[in-house]
């Protein structure tokens, strides 16, 4: 995907969540991973890229087109993409199936039959067919996250944004979800994700960006960044998180 971010800033009061961030990537990048310490601006950057927030200053161009600033324009932009949150955020009053079907019908104007067929197809791919009729409260965290992932990609989004998709899960469930994300990567889905799973970032991402204090510290191919980091910040961070 071609991404051009220039001097992007988003402040909350005195907190500079994203602070003059710039990045340029060409079409060869299909999967982009954002890594770095918590509170470093990964989630905010992802929300800006997903059109969930508007920057205080700076611009984002995706595939040559600048992100709109009006709420209507941003909603059209969000409809084309998919967004997954750390805490699943399924609608608790709807079954797993309805969680996937509702946006397809109400936002994308599909017929119910077509939406249901599509939901079944996606869920089968994620190994969740047996759980379609269940309510979110009846599903484990890993199952909820896989349903949420199915919801975010059922309409074949141009871009899938994943905000720490496995941070709220135990190791076994992490693996369940990462398997599915990996499968999506291999199928050619364009993905930007923030993650603390260094192994996953290294093996699946075409490009890895290290963010701290709202700024880009270092970026590069996964292999290069993990084996020979150029900056001391990245070296010490990787040293700590890879130790155990």
């Amino acid at each position: 995907m071609s991404i051009e971010i220039q001097h992007l800033s988003r402040h909350y009061g005195a907190t500079r969540a994203v602070d003059g961030f710039s990045l340029q990537l060409d079409d060869s990048v299909q999967v982009l991973a954002l890594i770095g310490p918590s509170g470093g601006g990964k989630s905010t950057l992802l929300r800006l890229l997903g059109g969930l927030e508007v920057p205080d200053s700076g611009t984002i161009r995706l595939d040559g087109k600048e992100l709109p600033h009006s709420e209507d324009g941003l909603r059209e932009f969000r409809k084309r993409n998919g967004f997954l949150f750390q805490s699943f955020n399924l609608f608790p009053h709807l079954s797993a199936l309805e969680n996937i079907v509702l946006p397809l019908v109400e936002v994308h104007g599909w017929t119910r039959d077509r939406a249901r067929d599509r939901a079944q197809e996606v869920v089968e791919r994620f190994g969740m067919s047996a759980h379609l009729g269940k309510m979110p409260a009846e599903l484990s965290g890993g199952q909820q996250q896989r349903i949420a992932l199915a919801r975010s990609m059922a309409h074949e989004p141009a871009l899938l944004l994943l905000d720490e998709p496995t941070s709220a899960l135990d190791p076994e469930m992490k693996a369940e979800v990462l398997d599915v994300v990996e499968e999506l990567c291999q199928a050619g889905q364009r993905i930007i994700l923030s993650t603390h799973e260094m192994g996953f970032a290294r093996s699946c991402a075409d490009e890895v960006v290290f963010l701290a204090r709202g700024q880009l510290v270092e970026s590069g191919k996964g292999e290069t960044l993990f084996t020979s980091p150029k900056t001391e910040v990245v070296r010490s961070f990787l040293g700590k998180v890879m130790k155990w």
Binding site: G50, L52, R75, E76, R78, K79, F83, F85, S87, N89, L90, F91, P92, H93, L94, L102, P103, E106, V107, M135, A137, E138, R151, S152
Partner: protein, 245 residues
């Protein structure tokens, strides 16, 4: 251990009190024949209470929703106006509102239907409380649900319709049912503008027959007959809207 002690004490106290009250009430020397000529009045009063309450219940939900909408609209003027209305209504006595509503406001525009004015004043009064219940219910839906709806591409209206309201309904049901029961009982204050409802009929029977308990005791059963079904309906709906199994 303490839990069992407390629940035993509470059970014994409640049961004793209940039996005592029942015995006192039942052992009174009643003269039901004294109010026999007035049964028809009681029944017609009960009907009036039923009609006033039913009409006010529907209208109060409509006004309550509008007041909630106004407060959450995000526009300053309707938000402030609705807020003032709610605070004013909640902070002043219903009795005065009924008097002013009928003798001053309705009179000045030439509307003299006591029943109609009664329904409108009662509705406004109840709507102020309902709108606070509704607002609380909507604001209790976590931010993550709104964010998720936004990410999916829902419009503001779709977010309310498909995500927020279905979840809020269950949360506001118990408190709303309580408010509806209050509305039914509050309708008894309409006697000040001579709406011949249930309580007013009892007062008149008491005055005519000098039989206080015989005149007022039917009120217990009459009002309970109206409020209890609401309580049952609320329980039923709570179960229907339950989503955490």
């Amino acid at each position: 251990m303490l839990k069992y002690l407390i629940s035993t004490v509470v059970s014994v106290v409640l049961l004793t009190t209940f039996c005592f009250v029942l015995w006192v009430v039942a052992s009174h020397d009643y003269h039901w024949e004294a109010i026999r000529p007035y049964w028809g009045n009681l029944i017609s009063g009960w009907w009036v209470t039923l009609l006033v309450s039913a009409a006010a219940l529907v209208l109060s939900v409509v006004i309550g929703v509008l007041l909630t909408g106004g407060q959450l609209s995000g526009h300053r003027l309707p938000s402030v106006l609705c807020r003032i209305f709610v605070e004013f209504i909640r902070g002043t006595p219903l009795l005065t509102q009924i008097l002013i509503g009928y003798y001053l406001i309705a009179n000045s525009v030439g509307w003299d239907s006591r029943f109609g004015v009664g329904v409108v004043v009662l509705s406004c009064f109840s709507a102020a409380y309902l709108s606070e219940i509704f607002r609380g219910g909507i604001e209790s839906i976590p931010r993550s649900q709104w964010l998720s709806a936004r990410a999916i591409g829902f419009t503001g209206w779709q977010t309310y319709r498909f995500v927020v309201i279905p979840q809020a309904i269950r949360r506001v049901l118990p408190a709303s049912a309580g408010q509806f029961a209050n509305l039914i009982k509050d309708s008894s204050l309409l006697f000040v503008i001579s709406v011949h409802e249930f309580t007013m009929q009892s007062r008149e029977i008491n005055a005519n027959s000098y039989s206080t308990f015989e005149a007022y005791l039917p009120l217990i059963f009459g009002y309970f007959l109206l409020t209890f079904p609401i309580s049952l309906l609320s329980r039923y709906l709570e179960n229907r809207f339950r989503y955490e199994h």
